[in-house]
């Protein structure tokens, strides 16, 4: 599977969403380039998570197309879909760890599903991923219910990274983390980006993470994308939500 270096990793065109009578998205266009970190920001209820769910193929949009790695996500065969899905990793907002499995089995799950590696190699890989996200080997046998909120996030990230994905979706990765852990998380993403040539699509409300990691921002408001671009460009966009939002960032920076 050869992908042109300059081709967008994710391309959303004319996407519209309705839940019953409520219109969430109107004709959204969005491009994620290879190797960048794109953050989606917007007020609560502006449809950030809904957009993410459509991009990862969990919710078919009423109109519009989603291309991932150059394939139309909703019009490709089961084989292509499976291939696409093994090339991305998703960190869900609440972690979405399998509660019946312990941390080790959660992280090993996608690796075992691939049926490529022998069990002892899977063990090494899982332990590597756990140490990568800063989890102790002793945590491997814990069930998700025994973990703290921050540890759930880390374990879920380890699972999302299990297959060495090219594309990583993060839904509120630092929400509920203390500032130190949040900073460690930012470092982690930076390192992974450098080493794995990672493309990241992230939803976050954490202004520090936003400023520290994002190459570009995509602002959702009034059911549309009102601005896309680097942080300093966006700050100049004349839109009430954008202005109010970035006044906060500046205030925090001072």
């Amino acid at each position: 599977m050869s992908t042109n270096g300059s081709a967008p990793v994710v391309e959303v065109q004319g996407l519209s969403t309705r839940f019953g009578d409520r219109v969430v998205h109107r004709e959204i266009d969005l491009v994620v380039r290879r190797g960048e970190v794109l953050s989606i920001v917007g007020a609560s209820g502006s449809g950030k998570t809904a957009l993410l769910r459509q991009v990862i193929g969990l919710h078919r949009p009423q109109a519009g197309t989603v291309h991932v790695f150059g394939h139309d996500l909703y019009r490709s065969g089961a084989r292509t879909q499976r291939e696409i899905r093994s090339r991305w990793g998703v960190l869900f907002q609440g972690g979405a760890l399998f509660s019946a499995l312990d941390v080790f089995a959660n992280v090993a799950f996608p690796l075992r599903e691939q049926r490529t590696l022998p069990p002892d190699v899977v063990t090494d890989l899982v332990m590597l991923k756990l140490s990568l996200v800063g989890l102790h080997p002793a945590d491997a046998t814990k069930k998700p219910a025994e973990l703290s909120g921050g540890m759930v996030k880390r374990a879920a990230l380890a699972r999302a990274l299990a297959l060495d994905p090219e594309l990583l979706f993060l839904d509120e990765p630092t929400a509920g983390l203390d500032p130190v852990s949040a900073e460690a998380f930012q470092d982690l993403i930076r390192t992974l980006r450098r080493e794995l040539d990672l493309t990241v699509v992230m939803i976050t409300h954490d202004l520090e993470t936003l400023a520290a990691l994002s190459d570009r921002l995509c602002v959702l408001a009034d059911q549309r994308v009102v601005a896309v671009g680097p942080l300093d460009e966006i700050a100049r966009v004349d839109h009430p939500f954008v202005q109010e939002y970035f006044a906060r960032i500046e205030k925090q920076a001072q």
Binding site: M1, T116, L128, P137, A145
Partner: protein, 384 residues
């Protein structure tokens, strides 16, 4: 020289390659190339196993990773395992892959292993099982006691009676169960009537079908059938609802507001089912008798007028009261058992499934045990 991997090379598809060479001085040289990634290794691990093991068995072998195009954690892990988790003495590796291999070197090793099986495990399991059984009994008694206290509280504070929850539960457990209990009752009535009719005909005792159906349905079949249906239907729903409320921390939220979960969640369910089940029993009785009457007419020629005139003459009304009384008790038991299991569910999916299963099984068992108690206690009533 040996080559692992497929004979034909498909360009554009990442594949992991391994070649074993003999160097000029007679040593072994393992040339690793291609894509040592999860994608590249797919379908290759089996054919790579033998050459990798051979290379690993030779401590003097040189490992040449310089022509590796792509290396990810999966490929690195496979090599690391092959090297028995040690860096080979002669290793050529690209600087950009060095960091990845270095990370494995820093790993602390195996995950903590589960404790070895205890030889006394069967005895421990027996003890745990008994303690759990005792726990269930004390839990049920505690819950019943709490419900009595709650009723006392509500008698003193009638304004706090949760009427809305009660009526919602009454509708959910009672009204929506009407179709299924009607169908099952009617069919069982027909079946019992048909089978008995054939036996009675041989003795010429046709008319006793009314006595037989009247007593068996009113006293036994009606209450038991509706109780078992309701235990499967509403008991499981109650357990699952409380269990999910535990998983989503709604139970904790209630407690944080200082709202008693037994008063707000359990009591309305128990009271609603104690009212709904006797009404369902009455309904099932009626439909089962109708089914029996139909079959009696078709099979024995006993018309509905004869049937209905004979019914009150030969079946003492006490049988109906016993049946309805059973309905009240069964309803109470099913709801208490369902809530007890619901409140004990731990916040994971497996516990939810197991809790719902044991709730239904226990509820049905408890209903049948209670039915036996009724049979013995009221053996002198209503049978002449």
């Amino acid at each position: 020289m040996r080559t692992a991997g497929p004979k034909a090379i498909t360009w554009g598809v990442p594949i992991a390659f391994l070649r074993t060479e003999t160097t000029l001085d007679g040593g072994r040289r393992m040339v690793v190339s291609g894509a040592w990634t999860l994608d590249g290794l797919r379908g290759q691990t089996r054919s790579l196993r033998a050459p990798l093991a051979a290379g690993a068995g030779d401590p003097a072998a040189t490992w040449d990773l310089a022509s590796v195009e792509a290396l990810d954690a999966a490929g690195a892990a496979l090599l690391w395992r092959t090297w028995r988790r040690r860096r080979p003495e002669r290793l050529h590796v690209r600087p950009e892959h060095e960091a990845l291999l270095g990370r494995f070197a820093g790993l602390s090793g195996e995950p903590p292993q589960p404790a070895p099986p205890d030889p006394l495990e069967p005895i421990a399991a027996l003890g745990r099982g008994s303690l759990e059984a005792v726990g269930h009994v004390t839990g049920l008694v505690e819950l019943l006691g709490q419900l009595v206290l709650d009723v006392g509280f509500l008698i003193r504070h009638p304004g706090r009676i949760p009427w809305r929850e009660w009526s919602a539960n009454l509708y959910r457990t009672g009204a929506t169960a009407l179709p299924i209990t009607a169908l099952v009752g009617f069919l069982i009535g027909i079946v019992v009537s048909y089978l008995s009719a054939q036996q009675l005909q041989t003795f010429g005792a046709n008319v006793f079908i009314v006595d037989l159906l009247g007593i068996s349905i009113l006293r036994e079949l009606g209450p038991l059938l509706s109780a078992i249906l309701v235990a499967g239907r509403s008991g499981s729903a109650m357990t699952a609802q409380l269990g999910v409320m535990r998983v989503t921390q709604e139970l904790d939220a209630l407690s944080a507001f200082g709202v008693s979960r037994t008063l707000r969640l359990v009591l309305p369910k128990v009271l609603a089912l104690s009212v709904a089940l006797p009404l369902l029993v009455l309904w099932t009785d009626a439909l089962a008798l109708a089914g029996g009457m139909l079959a009696a007419d078709l099979e024995l020629g006993i018309g509905s007028t004869v049937f209905l005139r004979r019914l009150p003459e030969v079946v003492p009304i006490a049988n109906l009261w016993i049946g309805l009384g059973k309905g009240v008790v069964f309803g109470l038991l099913i709801a208490v058992v369902a809530c007890h299991f619901g409140l004990r569910i731990r916040p994971d999916t497996e516990s939810l499934g197991a809790g719902t299963t044991s709730s239904v099984v226990t509820a049905i068992t408890v209903v049948i045990v209670a039915d036996a108690v009724f049979a013995v206690a009221f053996s002198g009533v209503g049978l002449r």
